[in-house]
């Protein structure tokens, strides 16, 4: 393919992206207005499926889903690293063992919610950090359940 072809290709794909096809300039209108089929019809026509859309897979309840950014490394043991993108679904029921976003001291924190005999605990997944025991007087607000942690591997 020549460089000029490549350029034209790109130009056309940009135009089709925004829903515009390049218009032929006046004097170049074709004589026939209906298209003429030429060549062999694609054998794949009947097998076309929609391409995978990550939005559909990562987000189940659009209205209740929010994204948060991780800061810190207290959850590395569960594969949640500094700077990861969290997909948080507020519509999910909160269950024992869930990774949750909790509001503590006016900030959001990401921890594992664990129920024990002593009550609820927000568990870190890194031995360097302490767990937070939630006492009966403490006002624990679980903001949402973390459904996915997305980790960037290549800039």
């Amino acid at each position: 393919m020549k460089t000029s072809d490549l350029k034209n290709d790109r130009k056309e794909s940009v135009l089709s992206l925004i829903g515009l096809k390049p218009e032929p300039s006046s004097g170049e209108w074709p004589v026939f207005t209906s298209a003429i089929t030429a060549g062999f019809p694609s054998p794949a026509d009947d097998y076309i499926e929609n391409r995978i859309d990550l939005n559909e897979h990562l987000v189940q309840h659009k209205e209740a889903t929010f994204f948060l950014r991780v800061q810190g490394d207290s959850m590395t043991g569960l594969g949640i690293l500094n700077n990861d993108l969290l997909v948080v679904d507020r519509s999910l029921p909160i269950e024992d063992g869930n990774i949750v976003i909790a509001a503590i001291d006016g900030e959001f924190t990401v921890k594992q919610l664990v129920h024990s005999q002593k009550g609820y605990m927000l568990k870190a997944a890194n031995p360097a950090y302490q767990d937070i025991i939630v006492g009966p007087e403490d006002d624990l607000e679980v903001w949402g359940v973390v459904r996915w942690a997305i980790h960037k591997l290549w800039p």
Partner: protein, 430 residues
């Protein structure tokens, strides 16, 4: 009279703007919050704590600034990007509960629950309420009544009387109990009764909702208008105002804003007017209308009485109705040049697109160039699509200016937590 008593619900978010800020900033829980208008001029939203302090809606910020400091009130510039997204989420969640929905404003919507009467509607309301609270963290109250006016009153009761626990269905209240409730609410709380109407009603001896309910609709129609007659009928359980599930297109579109700092030059005013008209033109195309006239106006600051005042405006007709931003900009700027006078400190500018009609219904002119019209349509479509897909302002007219030094103040705006990937909230793992 209607054969079946209708069940109209009004779902209304409590202190919507302040509540939105709280969802993303847990430190604000239980703390007083004030939201300021565009340009940080006035108080436009308050949390309950601030309402309890007696700070009124709409007061200029400078008048309550020291009070706010004393009470440690958290103050924010309005973050409409965030509020709009949260509003869309709330409305979508509600629509799953009832197909007949009229989105009445950014934080309230009417539902027609008449077909849901086999359910206990108070319980159904509580389900809507708890779902919204769980999904997006916003508190709402729900009022149900046989008409929109009654639904509004029911909502007022649901908010003010803890007895109702956030959901009040007036259809379940017995007639004499209802009259008892209505005798305790002043007539000014009725939907559509403004301050001036309230004054006139009080002069006629109508002080409470009950007084208005028992008034003669015909007599009031003569004194006021057919609107007041409808209100009385609605208070008596007759649904007269239908649900508008599809918002009718607007007849006028306005875009005006105050400047962050006074503006003196024609060039800065031109930038502002170009920006506002661009925004108005986007809204115009969004509702598939064309405008036949453009009104452009500029203001000095009326609060600075010692400074010379000049507040002109001008209506400029377009050669033919259009939705083409370029045409609208040229027309508005021509209007601006004709009213601009140097030597004044301008505080505000605005544009109004007037005489709107559905696009595509215009009579074609004898000398119209069809090619040019088609070209204009394609160009505007392309601009709108790019800006929709890649963010507002991705492609814009240079006349809007690059620096925008006149731009409104929004010094205390929180981030766009839900619409910009680099502004999402932080979850600490520490």
């Amino acid at each position: 009279m209607a054969l079946v008593n209708r069940s109209i619900a009004l779902v209304d978010c409590n202190n919507f703007y302040a509540s939105c800020e709280r969802v993303f900033n847990p430190a604000l829980k239980g703390k007083p919050i004030i939201i300021l208008s565009n340009n940080d001029g006035c108080v436009i939203a308050r949390s309950q704590e601030v309402k309890d302090l007696g700070i009124k809606m709409g007061v200029p910020w400078f008048k309550v600034q020291s009070l706010a400091k004393y009470h440690r009130i958290s103050t924010f510039s309005s973050n409409y990007t965030l509020y709009a997204d949260m509003s869309n989420r709330v409305m979508k969640i509600i629509s799953e509960f009832c197909p007949d929905q009229e989105v009445y404003s950014i934080d309230e919507c009417f539902l027609d629950l008449t077909g849901f009467k086999h359910l206990a509607l108070t319980d159904y309301g509580q389900r809507i309420r708890s779902t919204i609270n769980k999904f997006v963290g916003l508190p709402v109250c729900i009022g149900i009544g046989a008409s929109k006016t009654l639904a509004k009153l029911a909502n007022h009761l649901a908010k003010k009387r803890s007895f109702f626990d956030g959901v009040c269905d007036l259809n379940t209240v017995k007639q004499d109990a209802l009259d008892g409730l209505f005798s305790e609410i002043s007539v000014g709380e009725v939907w559509g009764v403004g301050r001036r109407t309230e004054k006139r009603l009080v002069e006629l001896g109508i002080h409470t909702v009950l007084d208005l309910k028992r008034a003669s609709p015909r007599a009031l129609r003569k004194q006021f208008s057919v609107v007041m007659e409808r209100t009385v009928r609605e208070l008596n359980g007759e649904s007269c105002i239908p649900l508008e599930e599809i918002a009718p297109p607007k007849k006028q579109l306005i875009c005006s804003r105050g400047f962050g700092a006074p503006v003196f030059s024609l060039s800065a005013l031109s930038e502002a007017v170009t920006s506002y008209i661009t925004r108005a033109a986007e809204k115009l195309r969004c509702q598939r209308s064309v405008a036949a006239q453009v009104y452009v106006f500029i203001h000095t600051n009326p609060f600075k009485k010692k400074e010379p005042q000049y507040s002109p405006g001008r209506l400029v007709p377009l050669p033919e109705p259009t939705d083409d931003t370029r045409m609208l900009i040229n027309t508005a700027l021509a209007g601006l040049r004709s009213i601009y006078r140097p030597g004044f400190a301008y505080k505000k500018a605005g544009v109004l697109l007037d005489d709107l009609s559905p696009s595509g219904q215009q009579q074609k002119g004898l000398f119209d160039n069809m090619g040019t019209l088609q070209h204009s349509k394609s160009l505007m479509q392309a601009i709108d699509r790019i800006n929709n897909a890649m963010g507002s302002g991705t492609i814009k007219f240079l006349g809007e200016g690059l620096e925008k030094q006149w731009k409104a103040k929004a010094e205390k705006k929180t981030r766009c937590y839900t619409t910009r990937i680099d502004e999402i909230p932080v979850a600490y793992a520490v």
